[in-house]
Amino acid sequence: MAEYLDRSSDIGKLVAMPDDDMIICRCEEITKGEIRKAIHDGMWTMTEIKRYTRAGMGLCQGQTCSRIIKGMIAKELGVLPLSIDDNTARVPVRPVEVRVYGKGIN
């Protein structure tokens, strides 16, 4: 069962940071500031962040940025990273051409 989260709990104000323009998700070019804003907009799970910002939705499916994003959520919410669920891994793990997947496509 998903952890109990009252989304109205106070996590403090969103304060701008000097490195907010640092790119976290390289595939979709999503910055630290955009992800932090999403958390303060109420996106408290990896999946919500992904759907709201596209971070982790690119070609590598978050293989690089997932751990960083998890750490960011944990920090903003003041919880342990272990308590945050991963994104769902999606088929295919690597991009595959339509003609390879399909049958008899020339």
């Binding site: 069962m1 998903a2 109990y4 989260l5 109205s8 999946t47 088929v91 991009p95 051409e97 997947y101």
Partner: protein, 376 residues
């Protein structure tokens, strides 16, 4: 543990629940939304993003027309998030005379309902949708239909409702409706928590059935898996939503603002898939979707599939949802059984639910969608 009260308690934090919370906050009602998993993890995030009027049952068509006329055009501004709504049309393809005849009837029926649809010949079809296969001999086009980003819409309603003071709690699975002197007065969750409200709204997708069962209400519906593939980012190809007719396997898709192409099809084996507790992408469906897409758009054969996902649709017995007050249990409302075409009407449904919850006449006549239609 804790006892919590609000004017309205909503079970299910999908697009219906989130949007209803938003409209209720605008009316000044206090709202608690309870969600088992996370916000919008059911059909709200697992649909093709179609916002269409064409092909709708007469009972739900007014909701589609109302939403497209009054809500969708300014929803991004209203919610403060770009939900990528585009009134870019919906085109349905015909490969043979059978398809042409089928769509001629569709056009005729829709014109009677006051909806502008027209047949396009091969040249006209290729003009607005240039990449379509040579095999397509005609199409049926509804210019006032369109599409939006379902993920963003669902979360944008949540974000705005939360900003306005709606209380959202995730990790709270609603098990049953609590009655007091015959009226719905609250819900009980699997953590043993009780949430009380003057109005109780169940918008929990297929799970609504089990919750409503606790007060002897049973919406006849079953689950069916749908699967979608995402094609890597492409240059701008065509703006409209595409539809492949069901008799030819079925399918739907559109290009997102990001450039990726979203395509979902049907396979005849859906009713025989391995029964899973959780929605899981099946071994054969991705291949089937690729074949279907290429047979209509050879353009995509060298493009890459970057992702696939699956989701449940909740098929109602007569293929339209149950929306509104449940007369048998005063104070109880629902919106469920959307049968795979709920997203496009979600803002209009939510607006109506919020009106019903404050005992007002809904903006759209939804009497044909009431639960009482199943009582013979």
């Amino acid at each position: 543990m804790s006892n919590q009260c609000a004017d309205v308690v909503i079970a299910g934090g999908g697009v219906m629940g989130n949007a209803t919370a938003y409209y209720l906050r605008k009316k000044g009602c206090s709202v608690i939304v309870l969600e088992e998993e996370m916000l919008g993890n059911g059909g709200s995030s697992r649909n093709g993003g179609g916002v269409r009027q064409s092909g709708r049952d007469n009972r739900e068509l007014p909701l589609a027309i109302y939403g497209i006329g009054n809500i969708w055009p300014h929803l991004s501004e209203e919610l403060g998030v770009d939900i990528e709504y585009h009134q870019a049309g919906n085109i349905k393809f015909a490969k043979d005379e059978r398809g042409v005849e089928f769509y001629k009837k569709v056009v005729e029926q829709n014109l009677k309902k006051g909806l502008e649809l027209r047949m396009l010949n091969q040249a006209e079809t290729r003009e607005i949708c240039p990449l379509v296969s040579d095999e397509i001999i005609a199409s049926c086009y509804c210019p006032s239909d369109g599409h939006a980003n379902a993920l963003m819409t669902t979360l944008a309603f949540y974000k705005r409702a939360r900003e306005l003071g709606a209380r959202f709690i995730t990790g709270e699975k609603v098990l049953s409706v609590k009655l007091h002197k015959g009226r719905a007065k609250g819900v009980i969750t699997s953590r043993g928590n009780v949430y009380e409200g003057d109005k109780i709204i169940i918008t929990a997708g297929y799970e609504s059935r089990a919750i409503l069962n606790s007060v002897h209400i049973d919406v006849p519906m079953r689950r069916k898996l749908i699967e979608v593939i995402i094609i890597e980012m492409q240059p701008k190809i065509f703006p409209m939503m595409i539809t492949i007719p069901d008799y030819d396997g079925g399918g739907y898709g559109h290009q997102t603002d990001h450039g990726s192409f979203v395509f979902g099809g049907h396979i005849p084996l859906e009713n025989y898939l391995r029964p899973e507790e959780k929605e899981v992408t099946q071994l054969i469906t991705t291949a089937s979707n690729c074949n279907q897409l290429v047979s209509y758009f050879p353009y995509f054969k060298d493009a890459k599939v970057i992702r696939s996902w699956s989701g449940w649709t909740d098929l109602c017995q007569d293929e339209v949802p149950v929306i509104g007050n449940i007369d048998e249990v005063p104070g109880l409302l629902t919106a469920c059984g959307f049968t795979g075409h709920g997203f496009g009407i979600s803002p209009a449904v939510a607006a109506c639910l919020s009106e019903l919850a404050v005992d007002k006449e809904p903006s759209v006549d939804i009497s044909g969608l009431s639960y009482s239609r199943f009582i013979m």
